[in-house]
């Protein structure tokens, strides 16, 4: 299991003096901001990828940027690794504690500092929940667009660290498109302003580099997000299909027709049935797949576009097309979709969520291949995905109590990701590489590219203390794992010895 860090394949650090570390941290944060007992640290041993567990050396909860800076300086001085953590909802093990590390929780950074309705921005601390921003700005008729399914719980700092997406990013973009300024603290304790209050900043685009950097480059202590005016009208259409591939064809047709839906989501039979029994959204449970297509804008335009979408779906073979009758039903349609992951808990004791993106035109063949892989590994796979942007979320159902099933799920997940790369896509669309997909990075990138990523990290963090063992694999790991993989006709890492 990948929650075990391997001294041969992952970064290693000299074992530090824990008592000394605790004494130094005690000088920085208040008593309530330091957890050193194992029982207290259990809360932090895993994130949204619950299969991976580990304990840090200590947990620290600073309350000010100055405290974060002081904590990082101490860690740099003592050579102690640091794992930053937001709300702990991430699905790739990005906040999994590294052995001997300081787990740095930003939970106390939970204030909205300023809302400027005229400039349409909000300045918030990283621990503020994603949905809390839209709730706080709703009175001004504004909202924060990226809406990961976990938005009720996930924090904006974590969203920035992962470049989180959501069901509405086809139209409104990812986190990187919706923020304009960060305050970060480097491992040396320097406080840097990245981006600014204008639409751009001089020099290299560090704002983009920091977004999605998974806690490897710096610790985010403040975020300025862009807000958008709430659309006047939004309506969602549900189309049911007797064949999954017909739903895939409809997606390509909708996009090809020049329509940009606010959201375009697909669920297959297994997923929609799980969601239906969990949320009672009113989904047609006999369908092989359903599409949810939301259009927002002026009322007449929404109606006109949805009529076109309905016609496209029927032509593609939909057995049923219906519009949400009212706002309550619209919300229920989406509640089913957003609740699809938790609903899986009713289908199997455990599930493993995959996050590849593929070009839309390869959808049908990828789904067929996933079905075959599912049969080969003997584990059911439910498919939920952001169809509009080709971001798949196959959910592998397994039972960790049965010997070998967890390993089989991990192996099947790896195969699906490699399939995504093979058709020209990527191993992660929005959940991040984290710990989970560290091996598949070696499939997607060449040795020279991995070296460049490592050098970029070193430009911020020369000792490699920030979130080690995540996001960017060591060359040794790629030599071990990438040995079986051939990239563009060549071994991915030809000049490294195989372990």
């Amino acid at each position: 299991m990948l929650d075990q860090f391997d001294p041969l394949l992952d970064p290693t650090f000299a074992t530090g003096d824990r008592d000394r570390l605790i004494a130094r941290l005690r000088d920085i944060v208040p008593l309530r901001g330091l957890i050193t007992q194992i029982e207290g640290m259990r809360v932090y041993e895993t994130d949204g990828l619950a299969a991976y567990r580990g304990l840090p050396s200590v947990v620290v909860l600073p309350e000010t940027t100055a405290q974060v800076s002081a904590v990082l300086k101490v860690c740099a001085e003592l050579g102690t690794p640091v794992v930053a953590r937001g709300a702990g909802t991430g699905l790739s093990g990005g906040a999994l504690p590294f052995p001997g590390s300081v787990l740095l929780s930003l939970a106390r950074f939970n204030r909205i500092l300023a809302i400027d309705p005229d400039a349409r921005t909000a300045r918030v601390q990283p621990g503020v929940r994603n949905l809390a921003i839209s709730e706080a700005t709703a009175a001004h008729g504004l909202f924060y667009a990226p809406d990961p399914s976990s938005q009720i719980a996930c924090s904006i700092g974590g969203n920035v660290a992962e470049n989180a997406g959501g069901v509405h990013c086809l139209k409104y973009g990812l986190t990187v498109h919706n923020i304009q300024r960060l305050e970060i603290v480097t491992i040396a304790g320097e406080v840097l302003e990245i981006g600014g209050d204008a639409l751009d900043a001089p020099g290299y685009d560090l704002l983009a580099l920091l977004t999605g950097s998974e806690g490897l480059l710096g610790v985010i202590t403040e975020v300025t997000v862009k807000l958008l005016p709430t659309p006047v009208h939004a309506q969602v259409l549900l189309a049911a299909f007797p064949e999954v591939t017909h739903a895939g064809d409809a997606v390509a047709e909708i996009i090809g027709a020049g329509i940009i839906p606010a959201g375009l989501e697909m669920m297959d039979h297994l997923a929609l049935n799980a969601a239906e029994s969990h949320v009672h959204a009113g989904y047609p449970i006999d369908a092989a797949a359903i599409l949810l297509c939301e259009i927002d804008g002026a009322a007449e335009d929404v109606e006109a576009d949805l009529v076109r979408v309905g016609e496209i779906c029927r032509r593609a073979g939909a057995s049923e097309v219906r519009w949400a009758r009212d706002e309550t039903e619209r919300r229920r349609f989406w509640a089913g979709r957003k609740g699809a992951f938790p609903a899986m808990g009713r289908m199997a004791p455990d599930y493993y969520c995959i996050d590849g993106t593929i070009p839309r035109r390869r959808l049908a063949e990828v789904l067929t291949e996933i079905t075959q892989l599912s049969e080969r590994y003997g584990l059911p796979v439910a498919n939920v995905f952001h169809a509009g942007d080709g971001n798949l979320h196959p959910l592998i159902l397994y039972d960790a109590a049965l010997p070998g099933q967890m390993e089989a799920a991990e192996a099947l997940g790896g195969k699906i990701l490699e399939l995504c790369v093979a058709v020209g896509g990527t191993i992660t669309g929005e959940h991040g590489v984290g710990r989970e997909k560290i091996n598949q990075m070696c499939v997607q990138f060449t040795q020279a590219e991995i070296e460049t990523f490592a050098a970029l990290k070193a430009a911020f963090d020369p000792a490699g203390l920030l979130n080690p063992g995540k996001a960017i694999p060591t060359l040794a790991r790629c030599a071990e794992f990438g040995g079986m993989h051939v990239h563009e006709g060549q071994l991915t890492f030809p000049d490294l010895e195989r372990l």
């Binding site: 600014g196 335009d301 960017i472």
Partner: protein, 359 residues
């Protein structure tokens, strides 16, 4: 080679030849001046070095309208890509400025300039999905990809956008494309800038289909684009006079009278900023967040004006040989820039000094 000849050149993949030239330059620590269509040579600080011609590395590699992405070699003329997209009712939503028919898509990404739709549709970097670049060792590296949602690895591809060629030679780019709006209307209002700014701040808080707003010194030009009903409803509500849609191309490509001045400053500021005395005639684009000023005022005056307003100033056109073009960086950020430069270009051969001295 004249621009006309250039646009008739056949598609070609010359990565190996470019890589050879880069390796030779790196081995001897010789500077290279990367050139695409050579239409923006005046932008940025001066840089010496042997010309590295990318314009022969050209051709669209992949374009499927249903995927909403185009992948092309860096030397592909921007005009060729725009024509291809237009034939499929699609556009580059960030409206890259063009300063001549030879302008290449690689140059568009390297300069990172964005037209009037910037506050509404995003910048060049927002639409970039991936690049293939040559680093200083002559290695072809691929960052990002061809899909919109992709968070594997650092966004090194976005770093190339606006880096003015100082981090690598862009070989291929993948850019997200957007369906052309069903309807587009240009309205003009006889308002001065302060009144225009007040009006814009009010309407931008509502979900009107605005995708352009600039003030040419005399009038406010407002563009409404999107599905027909929303556009027509906003048009009825706003009033104003029917404007000339060619105005958008003029402000995008800096073809307004103000841009004839020898020295042009670009102030990038918050849209709601109330700027003080600008010391010269001004055009306000991006709904006020990009302000062009023709002035001979001292650099420190202009830079202070911008920073006081919460932004930064660029001496966009007319900088003297030793003058800084881009806003000076705080020392910690400049040091970080130097370390990032060294990651891609350890021998310092790519467009040395074009962005900042020492980069």
């Amino acid at each position: 080679m004249t621009p006309a000849q250039r646009s008739e050149a056949p598609d070609a993949e010359i990565t190996d030849a470019l890589a050879e030239q880069v390796r030779a330059a790196s081995a001897e620590h010789r500077g290279l001046r990367i050139v695409g269509g050579d239409t923006k040579g005046w932008y940025g600080r001066g840089t010496d070095g042997e010309r590295l011609e990318v314009s022969a590395h050209r051709g669209v590699i992949d374009y499927d309208p249903c995927e909403l992405v185009v992948t092309a070699r860096a030397g592909t003329p921007l005009a060729q890509i725009e024509a291809l997209l237009a034939a499929n009712s699609q556009t580059l939503a960030f409206e890259p400025p063009s300063f001549g028919p030879a302008s290449t898509i690689g140059g568009v990404v390297a300069a990172g300039l964005t037209g009037p739709a910037r506050p509404f549709a995003g910048a060049a970097r927002d639409h970039l999905l991936g690049v293939r670049v040559l680093d200083g060792r002559g290695r072809a590296l691929r960052f990002g990809g061809t899909v919109f949602k992709n968070v594997a690895g650092f966004d090194a591809f976005r770093l190339m956008c606006g880096a003015m060629g100082t981090l690598g030679v862009i070989l291929d780019v993948s850019i997200r494309v957007t369906p052309a709006p069903a309807e587009s209307r240009t309205l003009t209002f006889d308002l001065d800038w302060p009144a225009s700014q007040t009006m814009l701040t009010r309407i931008l808080r509502k979900p009107y289909p605005v995708d352009g707003a600039f003030h040419d010194g005399a009038q406010l030009h407002l563009r409404l684009s999107g599905p027909a009903d929303g556009v027509r409803a906003a048009e009825r509500e706003f009033g104003g006079l029917a404007g000339d849609p060619r105005a958008w191309r003029a402000v995008r490509d800096m073809n307004l009278p103000l841009f004839g001045a020898p020295r042009i400053w670009r102030l990038s500021v918050p849209q709601t900023a109330r700027l003080g005395d600008l010391t010269g005639p001004a055009v306000f684009d991006w709904a006020g967040s990009q302000c062009w000023v023709a002035t001979d005022a001292p650099a420190e005056t202009m830079r202070r004006l911008a920073t006081t307003a919460g932004g930064h100033a660029t001496l966009f056109r007319g900088a003297g040989p030793d003058e800084e073009v881009f806003a000076p960086l705080p020392i910690q950020l400049l040091d970080l820039h130097k370390r990032l430069k060294a990651v891609f270009d350890p021998a310092g051969v790519f467009n040395p000094g074009r962005l900042y001295e020492g980069l």
